[in-house]
């Protein structure tokens, strides 16, 4: 184990620094207005760097970095676990956090108050998402889920003119259900085991009364399922995605949904020992995939379409994890990475496309490629990557996923997933065709992305292509991550060995 009290590099900073600077930000804004943009950026950059350093350390030594808080070893105190799996996801979130910041660096340039709130909420949603992923305590996870949730409600309702409030209210309603169910589940576990630490629960899960165990699992599954946008619990998601400011769609796709998904996976893989959890995950994954992608086919608004597509990808990831084989989990983690990267790129570019069209309909963006060629190209790269054309990163995740299915000889499932991919291809290329071929209708407001947004998009595109051309950049990490999440004993032992 690494020294838990390293001063410069410790997972605690993922949460402590965003919170610290979030509290500080209003004061910084008083000193110099641009600080509210620069300081979060420095912090995001630092955290992204730190995440990479930590991940490399964990990768090389094979020892997870586990931090105890307030000096109490688990299960007494809360611990943060930065192992190969959580560390990988946290790193993805950290890097995307930085890119989202870069994309929105000049956001609301003139309105100081709104910019302040925006960056504040961005930092908190980031801290919440990473917190959900790296915490080792169930109740603490709930708290971070709430932080993520409330910042997401606020961000959804951020724009005044639109129906943001409506979307946020729906999100809040369903989100409250989630928190109620999660709390009840936690309570049931606590009454049986008297502990809240995940590793401790996992260690003693046999001691639970079987009925109570099942009900606790169901409650937690439903609660986290809501956050993970599982069908049919995802009614809020398309609205929230489509009404939030542009970069926040990317945040939802790459951070909050990942956090929910992580909670779901940790629940089924580590905490509980139900074998049917995987079946449940499998069935819900298929339903989520088919319904979301099918409905995306019939969307008229671009961000809504992306939202449904994003939900569909979540379904795919759930299917991948549900196999509970090394290859399946590997594919699932790769899909998570890929989905985070590609959906962010799509949201980044699409939000500019939608921004410039009067009613945000797909038919309104026709011919925009000639006004904003780079943005359109980025959208195109995103589409190619999500369809899974080589040499973009999407290809590899799809290939691994199908390999995992083939390993279990699920031919019908392969055909189903590929048919759904076909649907995906149809609706994405419809948009692309509109973008490139149709004559512009003339209702165009020139808001070409500024340099920072461009840079963020180009960086993302480069990452996507780099992974696509040379997947070994990430497969090593993903392989270890897959081993880490599947190996329950090591997780428990490493948590208790500090």
């Amino acid at each position: 184990m690494v020294a838990t009290n390293h001063i410069l590099v410790t997972p605690i900073y993922f949460i402590a620094l965003p919170l610290f600077f979030a509290f500080l930000l209003p004061l910084l804004g008083k000193i110099y207005k641009s600080f509210i943009r620069i300081v979060p950026g420095l912090m995001f950059a630092y955290l992204a760097w730190m995440a990479v350093v930590l991940l490399l350390y964990v990768y090389k030594t094979g020892n997870p970095v586990i931090v105890k808080i307030a000096g109490w070893a688990p299960p007494i105190g809360i611990d943060l676990v930065f192992d190969q799996f959580t560390g990988f996801i946290a790193t993805v979130i950290a890097i995307l956090g930085f890119l989202v910041w870069m994309y929105s660096y000049l956001f609301k340039k003139v309105e100081f108050d709104n910019a302040l709130k925006y960056f504040l909420l961005l930092m908190l949603i980031y801290a919440g998402s990473i917190g959900v992923v790296i915490t080792g305590d169930l109740f603490n996870q709930f708290v971070f889920l709430e932080i993520t949730g409330i910042s997401a409600y606020a961000l959804t309702a951020f724009y005044r003119g639109r129906d943001g409030a409506e979307a946020a209210f729906k999100y809040l309603l369903i989100g409250s259900f989630a928190s109620t169910f999660v709390l009840l589940g936690i309570l049931l576990i606590y009454t049986q085991l008297g502990t809240l630490n995940m590793a401790d629960i996992a260690r003693n899960i046999d001691k639970m009364d079987p009925t109570i165990k099942v009900i606790a699992f169901i409650l937690l599954f439903t609660g986290f399922g809501i956050e993970a946008e599982m069908f049919p619990l995802n009614g809020w998601a398309p609205d929230a995605y489509s009404q939030s400011p542009g970069p926040i769609g990317a945040v939802f796709a790459s951070m909050t949904s990942k956090a929910g998904l992580y909670a779901l996976i940790r629940l089924s893989f580590t905490i509980f020992d139900f074998s049917s959890a995987n079946e449940l995950l499998f069935i819900m994954g298929i339903l989520t995939l088919v319904f979301a992608e099918g409905i995306a086919l019939r969307q008229e608004k671009i961000k809504r379409m992306l939202a449904y597509s994003s939900i569909g990808q979540i379904g795919l990831i759930m299917i991948a994890f549900s196999f509970n084989t090394y290859l399946g989990v590997f594919a699932g983690i790769f899909l998570m990475l890929n989905h985070a990267l590609v959906k962010s790129l799509l949201f980044f570019s699409a939000s500019f496309l939608a921004y410039n069209s009067p009613h945000k309909y797909i038919k309104d963006i026709q011919g925009f490629a000639r006004y904003m060629p780079v943005t359109a190209l980025m959208f195109g790269i995103g589409v190619f990557a999500i369809i899974g054309f080589p040499p973009f990163s999407g290809f590899w995740s799809k290939f691994y996923l199908l390999s995992a299915m083939a390993e279990k000889n699920f031919v019908i499932l392969i055909i189903l997933v590929l048919s759904v991919s076909l649907i995906e291809l149809v609706y994405y290329f419809r948009v692309l065709h509109k973008l490139y071929f149709a004559e512009p209708t003339g209702e165009y407001q020139p808001h070409t992305p500024r340099w920072n947004a461009m840079l963020a998009m180009v960086l993302l595109a480069l990452i996507i292509i780099a992974i696509g051309v040379y997947p070994d950049l990430v497969t090593g990490f993903i392989g270890k991550a897959a081993h880490a999440i599947m190996d329950k004993t090591t997780y428990i032992n490493s948590v208790f060995s500090i």
Partner: protein, 612 residues
């Protein structure tokens, strides 16, 4: 350095540089393009080391690059076409914008094709297959015509269907054989169960069949071939479709004949035969030269598939030979159409006429190609058909022979229609200004025509390589002679004699005919139509190119009545309607969503006993 990698680098790197070169100046780009074209071609023919194998470890897989003599022959076809098409493209694409983009994709797709041929394992094959697919897709939609989105989407959807079934087969192979190597796969295949063989084989055949435009997966082909700029179509139909043939060859021969499921091969042959017949009949009724030739491509590919499917030594031999020939003559024909399009501004039969004197060289090369296409004796097409029919008769596939024969007859008809519609007939004032195409365009065409003539007279040049490639497919001891074809009954034909005699007759005939025709002809404009005050109706045959084969069309109306496209359209609409309905699940009312959550929870409670 590995020569295979060098070739791929030339093409892909050349493609990227071409993009920037065209952005500097058109001339720079053109020079670069021709340079890359020739370099790749010469490198392939002269310097490529076929024995080299390269293994790359990537993402937990072993990617293998290795060329064998079966794939080499397809590579040769590309190597012949590439520099010629590059030359041809210079004048053809004059005045188009985004040339850098176009040529980058062009070279990418060629690189993809070479990658497919070099692939020693299925994953590599698939990667290059997809690169080829998306780059060709982007070229199909390159001209932002009104049709482009529809055509492009159709092409993409069918390509994706193909690619996905290929992918399914590949992952199944990976899971069951534990190796993605192609040769390993064929080695161990006989040990696997019948179900696995049939499943994987059919999936692969669907995958390759899409690119080879086998019915009913051909729907994209006529549109895509005719929408794409003609210089690419010549590669598209000439070389890219051969990738499908390459794959089908690999699968049918290796999978079916060498592991004992010959029935499957027969089915493939039947698909090929039916494709050949139907596509030919569709070609007959086309009103546009591009579309006619596009359908003709589908038909010709059907022949080849039929040949491969029969799977005897001779039929495979014929199939490969026809594939190479088709690559050449169809490329030439599309180039000719492109030249016509560029010079006369249209390719519609009802507008074009009598370009023979305006564009004699184009006409000549088209004529040669059409003769090859129709399989008329002096030229190589005849050789291919001869062998094909023979192989089918000797292996007892009489019905298929009848089918193909029917197709050949109709093929002759459409070939004639093409020649007549574009080059013959009466001259028109509006085409007076039309000039012969740029030498950069005619010279490649003539070169290909020359190839075709030579191959017709000395088919043995090609036979050598084909025989070698047959060994890779497991057919050993293929014998051939330079110009003498011998059949199983011991009769033989010497192509040189036939060629010589027929050429003499033909030339004499042409001279006489032309002389007579000149003497007795009178020029009347074809639009000089007297309808005596009656408005002309559709039924009036007021232009000879309208309803060229009307009686024929009537006779075969029952064929034309059925088309597969509406079925696909209905299917797609059904799916969209279904999801339009499903979409209402998301009512927009937060309480409904909350109810869903409760319902979900209640269902989970109900099944709680089953969770263990």
């Amino acid at each position: 350095m590995n020569t295979l990698v060098v070739l791929l680098l030339i093409l892909f790197g050349g493609g990227i540089i071409a993009y920037f070169a065209y952005n500097i100046h058109k001339i720079v780009g053109d020079i670069w393009l021709v340079l890359v074209g020739f370099a790749a071609s010469i490198y392939y023919i002269g310097y490529l080391d076929v024995s080299q194998v390269l293994n790359i470890h990537l993402a937990g897989f072993v990617l293998t690059l290795a060329l064998n003599s079966f794939s080499w022959i397809f590579g040769l076809l590309i190597a012949v076409l590439l520099p010629l098409v590059a030359l041809y493209s210079i004048p053809y694409m004059k005045g188009q914008d985004r040339l850098g983009w176009f040529y980058m994709l062009f070279l990418f797709s060629v690189g993809g094709m070479y990658g497919i041929l070099m692939a020693g394992d299925w994953l590599t094959l698939f990667i290059f297959w997809e690169i080829m697919t998306w780059s060709s897709y982007l070229i199909v939609i390159y001209r932002r015509s009104e049709d482009a989105p529809r055509v492009g989407l159709k092409y993409l959807i069918f390509s994706a269907i193909g690619a996905y079934s290929l992918l399914t087969a590949i992952v199944l192979i990976g899971a069951n054989v534990h190796s993605l190597s192609i040769s390993k796969f064929f080695e161990v295949l006989p040990m696997h169960s019948l179900g696995f063989k049939v499943l994987v084989g059919s999936l692969m055949l669907i995958g390759f069949g899409v690119k080879a435009a086998v019915m009913p997966l051909h729907v994209w082909a006529p549109d895509a071939y005719s929408t794409t700029p003609m210089n690419y179509t010549s590669m598209f139909s000439g070389a890219l479709s051969k990738m499908g043939i390459y794959g089908i060859g690999l699968i049918v021969i290796n999978l079916y004949y060498h592991s004992g499921i010959s029935l499957a091969g027969e089915i493939v042959a039947w698909f090929g035969a039916i494709t050949a017949v139907l596509a030919t009949y569709y070609a007959l009724i086309q009103k546009d030269a591009k579309r006619l030739m596009a359908w003709s491509s589908v038909a010709q590919l059907g022949y080849i598939v039929a040949g491969l499917g029969i799977g005897t030594k001779l039929s495979v031999f014929a199939g490969i030979y026809l594939a190479v020939l088709h690559g050449l003559f169809k490329a030439n024909l599309f180039m000719a159409i492109g030249a016509v399009e560029r010079q006369a501004g249209t390719t519609n039969f009802s507008e074009l006429r009598a370009l023979i004197r305006k564009m004699p060289w184009t006409f000549f090369s088209a004529l040669i190609s059409v003769i090859v296409l129709a399989g008329i004796p002096p030229l190589s097409g005849f050789v291919g058909k001869w062998m094909l029919y023979e192989s089918m008769i000797t292996s007892g596939h009489y019905v298929i022979v009848v089918f193909l024969f029917l197709a050949s007859v109709a093929g002759f008809l459409y070939a004639f229609r093409f020649l007549f519609g574009v080059f013959l007939g009466q001259e028109e004032k509006e085409f007076e200004h039309v000039k012969e195409a740029n030498p950069f365009m005619t010279v490649p065409m003539l070169l290909i025509a020359l190839f075709l003539i030579v191959l017709g007279t000395f088919p043995g040049i090609m036979f050598k390589y084909i025989a070698r490639s047959m060994a890779d497919l497991g057919f050993y001891g293929v014998t051939y002679k330079m110009s003498v074809l011998t059949n199983d009954w011991g009769q033989s034909i010497n192509m040189q004699y036939i060629a010589a005699s027929l050429v003499i007759v033909f030339v004499l005939f042409l001279i006489v005919l032309t002389w007579v025709a000149y003497k007795n002809s009178r020029n009347v404009t074809t639009k000089d139509i007297h309808t005596s005050g009656e408005p002309p109706s559709e039924e009036d045959n007021y232009h000879f190119s309208e309803n060229f084969y009307r009686p024929f069309q009537r006779a075969f109306a029952f064929v034309y009545k059925y088309a597969i496209t509406p079925v696909y359209n209905e299917f797609a609409r059904g799916i969209e309607d279904f999801f339009q309905y499903v979409r209402r699940l998301y009512t927009g009312n937060a309480q409904t969503y909350a109810l869903y959550v409760l319902l979900f929870l209640a269902i989970l409670f109900l099944i709680a006993k089953n969770i263990h």
